[in-house]
């Protein structure tokens, strides 16, 4: 018998992943939904003698998808044909979750409603009559506090019961829970009789989505029944549209909400007035500019500069570089390879100046790993406390000036960790215009943490150099965004977000997230570092690099840099952080002047995206865009270097 499929759905921030982790004790796998960059978590689950597959989906607010994430979540429901759908809802926002529950049930899916975060609801004095709610909806309802594991045993039991019984024992077929206005009901009947084939969703559910102009559903019907039938459905929709003066989805949702209110009135009572607790007061203060802006600066200073920069790029890198690699690993492997490989030129592939182990592995593990790891930890912390959406709320107005909205803080801040990952995350931005602006800014101006850490380490040796670098990069960030916002056509973005309560995050969750992200990062990055070593090695022994380095001399001279920096720029082509790490080496050897250091740091920051990001740019934005932006960045970064160099010489800040 085929494995049963269980799909978890629900809006963001209700603890879907936590329910998922609790259900599946086994190792979970992450994969992209075919043809997309949306990540899906899958795991196996055994209940009794039954083995199932559990799938965690991206957050969805409504059955009618608005974003790429929601589209995928819905696609899993229609195409993957789950045997059971677990709808996870935050107990205290029952009324915002129930419209989706009603639609899932009416669509003919086998739904279990999980009311999660019951503790917060109880704290607010909310009391929910679970049995009565079950009766109203005709489905099992399970209260849980997933982060403490409460209610999971019951949930497993309910799943087991559903798997072992005939469906009809629990669910009446073609259930109707909502009575829409007569015009809509008539249209639904009409549409249902139009549909000739049977779908995984009920005809009523299909009709309701088609009536609201759901392209995906209409496409599905067209695939199965041909254009003619879709035309008939659209005719029904059009007929209704002329008879009502509000959009159909508005009428449908009003009715749904009305029904939800009726249900809610019967099952929910709120006895105590909610108290002003610490989380609420703090959450409120953070949003006041007078508190929020200093806090934001503090966050950036302590979390990014102190923790990622000084501790990660300073202390940790120092330790790993000098103590671990310098004193043990490099000498160890060098001596081994000296024994087993007699040929110098082959040996240099592994342990030479640019060897796979002595350079590639060292860069990846000793320089990049501690910095990126600490950054991901900080980011996961900001995410789990609920600070991230508040940061977006604070910065929305500023970001609007560069054509983005508060939502863009997530990819932009994540870009400070890894631009490649951040570029993938730009898909949370609702419009193409925002995604383009964010991608360009990430490629051009936002330094990733590996680069950032190294640059901080290098520049902090010179007084004022770090500040100068920061000002130049910020100015370019702001100006580029400003002009893109002017030039690009399309609608200006709008901003809306839910602000989840400030929560004290669980350390184990933060570590898990950091671990998952690091794992992803290393899977992508380590091979590239190794490859870079190999390519450099090939370039070296074939003397191709000598030619390229020679060719680089004149553009470098043009921006006032000595040719000792040429290898840094060449490596920078493979990864920006690789180049920055090279700069770090040179600076430690005292081979570059302060002026050169600042100019090189700025140009390297702006420089060509690393190969991984170039590939992601192609995947997310298309070949033409990726190539265009790369050429632009190349020219732009050198031009900025030229101007900066001239200005530094003219003003006499750094004369040597």
């Amino acid at each position: 018998m085929a494995r049963k499929k269980i799909v978890i759905v629900g809006s963001p921030n209700v603890g879907k992943s936590s329910i998922f982790n609790n259900l599946s004790s086994r190792y979970a796998t992450v994969s992209n939904y075919p043809g997309t960059t949306v990540e899906l978590f899958k795991a196996r689950l055994e209940i009794g003698d039954k083995e199932c597959e559990v799938i965690d989906t991206p957050g969805m607010y409504s059955f009618l998808p608005l974003s790429e994430d929601e589209r995928i979540a819905r696609l899993i429901l229609t195409k993957d044909k789950p045997d059971i759908v677990i709808h996870v809802a935050a107990a205290k926002s029952l009324d915002r979750a129930l419209p989706l529950t009603l639609q899932l049930i009416e669509a003919g899916l086998l739904v279990i409603l999980v009311l999660n975060i019951m503790d917060e609801a109880r704290k607010d004095g909310i009391d929910i009559d679970i049995r009565k709610l079950e009766k109203e909806l005709g489905i099992p309802v399970v209260p849980t506090v997933s982060i403490r594991g409460e209610g999971i045993v019951e949930l497993r039991k309910v799943i087991g019961q559903l798997l072992n019984s005939k469906v009809s024992d629990f669910f009446a077929k073609d259930k109707q829970l909502v009575e829409y206005p007569p015009l809509i009901e008539g249209a639904l009947m009409g549409m249902a009789s139009c549909l000739k084939t049977s779908y995984f969703l009920s005809k009523r559910g299909m009709g309701l989505l088609a009536l609201q102009g759901d392209d995906e559903i209409l496409k599905l019907i067209e695939e199965n029944e041909g254009k003619e039938n879709v035309r008939r459905l659209l005719a029904i929709k059009k007929d209704i549209s002329t008879k009502v003066h509000q959009p159909i989805e508005y009428i449908v949702n009003l009715k749904l909400q009305q029904r939800v209110n009726e249900i809610k009135a019967g099952v929910l009572s709120q006895t105590v007035k909610k108290k002003k607790d610490l989380s609420r007061v703090l959450g409120d203060y953070i949003l006041r500019p007078i508190v929020g802006i200093p806090l934001l600066l503090c966050f950036l200073y302590f979390a990014i500069y102190k923790l990622v920069g000084e501790f990660g790029a300073g202390v940790c890198v120092d330790f790993l570089e000098k103590k671990v690699f310098g004193a043990y690993i490099n000498p160890f492997f060098t001596s081994i390879f000296e024994k087993i490989i007699p040929f110098d030129w082959i040996r240099s592939l592994f342990v030479g100046e640019y060897g796979i182990i002595t350079l590639g592995l060292r860069y990846a593990v000793a320089i990049v790993l501690p910095i990126v790891g600490i950054f991901f930890f900080v980011f996961s912390f900001a995410e789990d406390t609920g600070y991230l959406p508040r940061m977006g709320t604070m910065l929305d107005r500023l970001l609007k000036k560069i054509g983005l909205s508060g939502r863009a803080v997530i990819p932009i801040v994540l870009g400070l960790g890894c631009d490649t990952m951040a570029t993938m995350v730009t898909r949370i931005l609702p419009t193409k215009r925002e995604r383009i602006i964010a991608t360009i800014l990430l490629s051009l101006t936002v330094p990733c943490s590996a680069q950032l850490g190294v640059i901080m380490a290098v520049l902090s040796q010179q007084k004022g150099a770090l500040l100068l670098w920061f000002l130049v990069i910020s100015a370019i960030f702001a100006l580029t965004g400003f002009f893109l916002n002017r030039i690009l056509k399309g609608k200006k973005p709008s901003f809306y977000t839910e602000l989840p309560p400030l929560r004290l995050p669980r350390l184990s969750n933060i570590f898990t997230k950091t671990y998952m992200r690091l794992k992803w990062y290393f899977k992508e990055v380590l091979p590239l570092f190794i490859w870079a070593s190999v390519i450099i090695w090939v370039g070296q022994i074939t003397k191709i690099f000598d030619v390229v380095l020679y060719l680089l001399n004149s553009p470098l001279k043009f921006i006032g840099l000595s040719k000792s920096l040429a290898p840094v720029f060449l490596f920078g082509f493979f990864r920006r952080d690789y180049g920055a790490a090279g700069l770090y080496d040179l600076s430690n050897q005292g081979l570059v002047s302060p002026r050169e250091l600042v100019v090189a740091a700025v140009v390297l920051t702006l420089f060509l995206p690393c190969i991984a990001q170039f590939l992601v740019n192609i995947r997310e934005r298309g070949m033409k865009f990726a190539l265009g932006i790369t050429v632009f960045i190349l020219l732009f970064s050198f031009s900025v270097g030229f101007v900066l160099n001239k200005m530094l010489l003219l003003t006499g800040i750094y004369q040597i």
Partner: protein, 214 residues
């Protein structure tokens, strides 16, 4: 300015809806026997020989009747908080009192609503075209609330697809109670145990009935 009886106003109203909104031919047979219809003919507002029945003057007058009716509906629904089956009945009486500029005052009070509670468009009046910020309104867009103000969403005026879908997906629907917490840098409000942040444009599309002013 015509002086019209309640009956005459009702006839003009139904004619206007038949002709302008439903693009239908009005049923003349029923109407012709009524004395009110005769009166309207005498006043030159309807012409039995015309295909659409309403004369140019009549059309104008009829539109005003519809406007009064739908404003009345909004008034009883939003401000007086009447529930659906009663809305029609009450507003049928209300509308005939909304003369001498009173309808414009109601319109201002409600913040120049664009549709009646049933979603039909309200014909715009003079007050709507030279619409300025008018103080002391009961129904205001969310963006004009002050921190601490409490209101109930009475309608959303975003009728273009994407914006509306966003509002729906977040659950910003009529009947929900909101409390504004911040106006700057973004609009932050509480709704049913959850907090939300939205920008000024979206805050301008959500109209609330003020319940408590800080």
């Amino acid at each position: 300015m015509y002086k019209l009886s309640d009956n005459e106003e009702d006839i003009l109203e139904s004619l206007w809806i038949e002709i302008e909104e439903n693009k239908d031919k009005p049923n003349t047979r029923v109407l012709k026997d009524e004395s009110a219809f005769q009166e309207l003919m005498d006043k030159g507002l309807v012409d039995i020989n015309k295909k659409t029945l309403l004369t140019k003057e009549g059309l104008k007058e009829a539109q005003k009747c519809v406007r009064r009716h739908r404003l009345a509906e909004r008034l009883v629904a939003d401000v007086l908080d009447l529930k659906d089956p009663l809305i029609h009945e009450a507003s049928c009486k209300f509308e005939h009192g909304l003369h001498h500029g009173l309808e414009d005052n109601v319109c201002i009070l409600l913040g120049h609503p664009k549709t009646c509670p049933h979603g039909k468009p309200i014909p715009a009046g003079e007050c709507c075209s030279n619409f300025e910020k008018i103080p002391q309104r009961l129904i205001v867009p969310l963006k004009e609330l002050q921190p601490g103000d409490i209101g109930k969403i009475s309608y959303v005026s975003a009728y273009e697809g994407e914006v509306l879908k966003k509002l729906i997906s977040m659950g910003f629907l009529p009947g929900k109670q909101v409390k504004l917490l911040h106006r700057f840098p973004s609009f932050v409000f509480e709704m049913e145990n959850s907090s939300f942040a939205i920008d000024k444009d979206l805050a301008g599309t959500i109209h609330v009935l003020l319940l408590k002013r800080q």
